[in-house]
């Protein structure tokens, strides 16, 4: 804890690296991390690495942090931005995020320099769950959705589960995280808009081949409605379970405000669920696309 400055506009009791936690039974923390790097990985995406209090490294695949982004333009950024964790390095005490710099929050994030403080709250929500009986899974993602799926591949690798990662992108220059998936021993297949290989028909052929090879105990997806619909259809047809990570505008992140609701279909009934607390990872068959 630092001594509060009475002239500061806001107050914080966030945990810094090495702080003794005054509330050890906590599940979620507000942390002040220190940026160690914040580099461009291609024309559109940046990769930020933060040194954090050890509690923050309890985050697992599919969970999010709520980020208090610096301002890109001098005006206030009023709300935190939810972002799924890209990688956790427990030994180094680091959490990492991969993001596309587009809105005001992420543009502000892009200005972070090594040594800067960055306030993050989390880990939040329900992430991906692997069933012990699954030997081979398929992850299919597009764009920044692949950042959400990357730690799942890490989890699978740690549990000896084989991963096929189908990475969809507009062109070769913006394929996300291929090295990370490769390093984890995943079998990666890149599909692109530029050569037409990302067409739903082609991705369907790839998935059908994987199904025939018995490589598809479960499906995982994030970031594309088209691909979600495809996996739902094939999942239903072949009885393959699946999980999807969803997005929504968030305010509290704790399940209190009901800003982040989306429609799901459960047992034939349409219901609302909170992405921040009931998700962000949901049963793929319950998701209603967008």
């Amino acid at each position: 804890m630092t001594t509060p400055d009475p002239n500061e506009n806001y107050t914080d009791a966030a945990l810094r690296i090495g702080d003794v936690d005054p509330y050890p039974q906590r599940l979620v923390g507000e942390f002040i991390g220190i940026v160690t790097r914040n580099d461009w990985v291609n024309d559109e995406y940046k990769h930020v690495v933060l040194k954090v209090h050890e509690h923050a490294t309890k985050a697992y695949a599919g969970q999010m942090f709520h980020l208090l982004c610096p301002s890109p333009d001098g005006a206030e950024v009023w709300m935190r931005r939810p972002m799924s964790v890209y990688r956790v390095d427990k030994t180094a005490g680091e959490v990492e995020f991969l993001y596309k710099s587009e809105g005001r929050g992420t543009r502000g994030m892009a200005t972070l320099q090594p040594g800067d403080e960055f306030n993050i709250a989390g880990p939040l929500g329900v992430g991906f769950k692997l069933q012990p009986s699954w030997k081979n899974i398929v992850v299919l993602g597009r764009g920044v959705g692949l950042a959400t799926l990357a730690p799942l591949s890490q989890l699978a690798a740690e549990n000896g589960v084989g991963v096929t990662a189908i990475l969809s992108a507009r062109h070769e220059g913006v394929v996300m995280s291929k090295e990370l998936f490769d390093d984890l021993g995943a079998h990666t297949i890149t599909v692109l808009d530029s050569d037409g290989s990302s067409d739903v028909e082609n991705v369907e052929r790839i998935l059908e081949t994987l199904i025939a090879q018995g490589k598809t105990d479960a499906f995982f997806t994030c970031g594309s409605n088209r691909l979600l619909k495809l996996m739902q259809r094939l999942g239903k047809k072949h009885g393959i379970p699946g999980q999807v990570a969803m997005e929504q505008i968030m305010v509290c992140g704790f399940g209190a405000c009901y800003v982040c609701v989306r429609t799901f279909e459960v047992d034939g009934k349409r219901v609302l669920k909170r992405v921040c607390r009931d998700g962000p990872v949901f049963n793929m068959q319950e998701a209603v696309g967008w």
């Binding site: 009791a13 979620v28 009023w78 509290c252 704790f254 209190a256």
Partner: protein
């Protein structure tokens, strides 16, 4: 160490800091120790299960966020059976917020909510996206009086009444609520607002209008608390734009006995705890023994009224 306890009618709060209805739930226990709060305040409940308003439910503006949630909830039966026990695990008093579009139903709901684990009924007669005859009774003096009289007749629990900043003359409405039997006033709910997107010409919120939530509202609500405090005898809970301990002090100086906090807990989930700690430190540094010394302690009786004298003083 300063004594932070305050009394609101018969209810004693261990400190004057509590969450604002709708911006809080027991789930915040994941990140802060709820037993440290002055009170726990549940989200406004209605009789029937409600989905709430169409999304998007929040949009950022240059001056704060606007939000329109539409009071979603699982209805009163579920609330009493499942949600009240979630709060009852903690020690601070439980304030239950309730709303209805008809006065009879409002009173009946208050009666049904008067169960042992509930310590206070907060009548939310100020949901900004409802109309004056359908739930937003705080827009009008007579509707306020009728509604609070009806509720008072049906419950013996302490009754707090949440007023609207959108009403023209909040002082008369506050008096009407006091006359009708309110034990305390909660000032205030959110300001009705609108944002239009210039990329597609559509309102930014699914419900078109929303309530503005921002630290910018603090000076306006503070003025209302000050004016109402001069006109009523019952305690006031000030809500609007509290983000730090000095804001609590300011509200108390204006006449509030306690404050409610919404936005600051979104920005910093640990904000309520640090505000309580900072408030204690602020009082200790100044040798203030009881936080109640601050209530209504604004020094406005001996203000310099002569402009030439005032303009010759130091800045």
């Amino acid at each position: 160490m300063v004594d932070l306890t305050v009394k609101i009618g018969d209810i004693t709060l261990q400190n004057p800091v509590q969450p604002a209805s709708g911006a809080f739930s027991w789930e915040y226990n994941d990140v802060i120790d709820l037993n440290r709060l002055g009170a726990l305040v549940a989200k406004t409940i209605c009789r029937e299960p409600r989905l709430g308003n169409p999304t998007p439910r929040m949009a950022e503006t240059e001056a704060g966020i606007i939000q329109s949630i539409g009071l979603p909830g699982k209805g009163i039966e579920y609330f009493v059976e499942h949600i009240v026990p979630e709060y009852a695990r903690f020690t601070p008093p439980l304030v239950v917020s309730v709303s209805s579009e008809s006065i009879e139903d409002f009173a009946a709901l208050a009666e049904e909510l008067s169960v042992p684990d509930v310590d206070v009924i907060e009548a939310n007669i100020s949901c900004p996206t409802r109309n004056a005859t359908g739930g937003n009774f705080a827009m009008h003096e007579d509707y306020t009086r009728d509604c609070i009289t009806a509720i008072r007749a049906k419950t013996r629990k302490p009754l707090w009444v949440k007023l609207s900043p959108n009403a023209g003359d909040i002082v008369s409405i506050a008096r009407a609520a006091e006359d009708a039997g309110a034990d305390a006033l909660v000032i205030a709910n959110t300001f009705l607002s609108l944002k239009i997107r210039t990329d597609n010409f559509r309102p930014a919120l699914g419900n078109k209008f929303g309530g503005l939530v921002s630290p910018a509202l603090k000076p306006i609500v503070l003025r209302m608390v000050y004016q109402v405090a001069k006109a009523v005898k019952i305690p006031i809970i000030g809500i609007g734009g509290v983000t730090k301990a000095e804001d609590v002090v300011e509200y108390m100086l204006a006449g509030a006995t306690a404050v409610g906090i919404g936005y600051a807990g979104f920005r910093n989930p640990t904000a309520l705890i640090s505000i309580i700690d900072d408030l204690a430190a602020w009082c200790d540094e100044r040798g203030i023994k009881k936080v109640t010394e601050l209530i209504g302690a604004v020094r406005d009786q001996d203000m310099e009224m002569d402009t030439l004298n005032a303009a010759s003083a130091g800045v």
